[in-house]
């Protein structure tokens, strides 16, 4: 079976085990990489630097998590049902953003706008839930000034919420650009960056709900 496979010419340069002339783009033989690949790489570097910023906030929170100064501990204030709904909202939002990239590739204006609108509404629902959680904590006197633990918690989760807010504004401008300018290649590259940003926010949220909320209720 394996000998039959190896006799087949492997003509796809992207396939593992390809031994022919390297005609992949961006590697000499196939010419320069496409603009889309280069733009994606540049934005990926930005996202990685943002991940480093978040890792500093995670490290600060991890160090300060026990410094409650006589105030509430993590398990006293975290509401896992709300966190579960927030997680579902953001995950579904990320999925609809993926559907929007397919609609953009098909150049279908109605589907694009619909998928992006659902993406934005789910993101907005997430933000409102988070805002209500923060307002609830403030109302009970457990604001960021209460203890080092709460300072770290508000900084980390608030920074993610700020990113989602900026992402929502960006989402609105992307919908307007698709309407006003159509599916031009440069708008498509902007949308590529937006979708990377949105999926990246979901990845950060995975770390927050697992390592802050779920671990917090078990400590």
């Amino acid at each position: 079976m394996s000998t039959a496979d190896s006799t087949l010419p492997i003509s796809d340069p992207y396939r593992l085990g390809y031994r022919g002339p390297n005609l992949a783009r961006g590697h000499g033989g196939g010419g320069p990489a496409t603009k889309r690949v280069i733009v994606g790489y540049g934005f990926w570097l930005f996202l990685l630097s943002d991940i480093v910023v978040f890792s500093c906030l995670f490290a600060a929170y991890a160090v300060l998590a026990d410094a409650t100064a006589g105030g509430p501990r993590a398990r006293d204030i975290f509401d896992l049902d709300r966190v579960a709904i927030e997680t579902a909202c953001l995950l579904a939002s990320s999925f609809f953003c993926g559907l929007a990239t397919i609609a953009v590739a098909q150049r279908n204006q109605i589907l694009t706008q619909a998928a992006l609108a659902i993406t934005g509404l789910l993101g907005l629902a997430f933000l409102l839930l988070e805002a209500s959680e923060f307002a609830n904590l403030y109302a009970h006197g457990d604001g960021p000034t209460r203890s080092a633990f709460l300072s770290g918690f508000f900084t980390l989760v608030g920074c993610h919420g700020l990113h989602v807010t900026v992402g929502l504004l960006w989402l609105g401008t992307m919908m307007a650009q698709f309407l006003a300018k159509g599916f031009r290649p440069d708008i498509g590259r902007r949308f590529l960056c937006f979708s990377m940003f949105w999926h990246f926010l979901d990845i950060i949220w995975v770390a927050i709900f697992s390592l802050v909320y779920l671990v917090g209720t078990r400590l």
């Binding site: 593992l16 990685l48 490290a59 600060a60 990320s94 590739a105 290649p185 979901d202 209720t217």
Partner: protein, 130 residues
Amino acid sequence: MTIDTERHGLEQEEDDKGGASDEHSARLATYVIGLGLAILLTAASFWVAKTDVIYGPGIPEALATLAVAQMGVHLVFFLHLTTAPDNTNNILALAFGLLIVGLIVFGSVWIMAHLNNNLMPMQQLMQMQR
């Protein structure tokens, strides 16, 4: 310069229009599989946090493992990180980013835990300074 960008623009058009309906349904399948795996891993995380089946002190490690797995799912199925030649630079940058993140997070936690262990309690220190 303008000719160059124009050429790129045209190639971009071809790249975009080259996708047939097969390719679109393949991409849709990728997102659906990613969503399914993410839901499974999220549900597992919430179950682990509430259950008593798992040895208690091991639960943070279990949650961290599930989180890393879900981040991997998101990277592969949503951000389309692959081993293809047009992605090697992305992978290398990610590896470097992970190195920095590891240094910051584990380094901070490690050093601060040791400081906590080796320093005397704050009240005792204040009394000595009087």
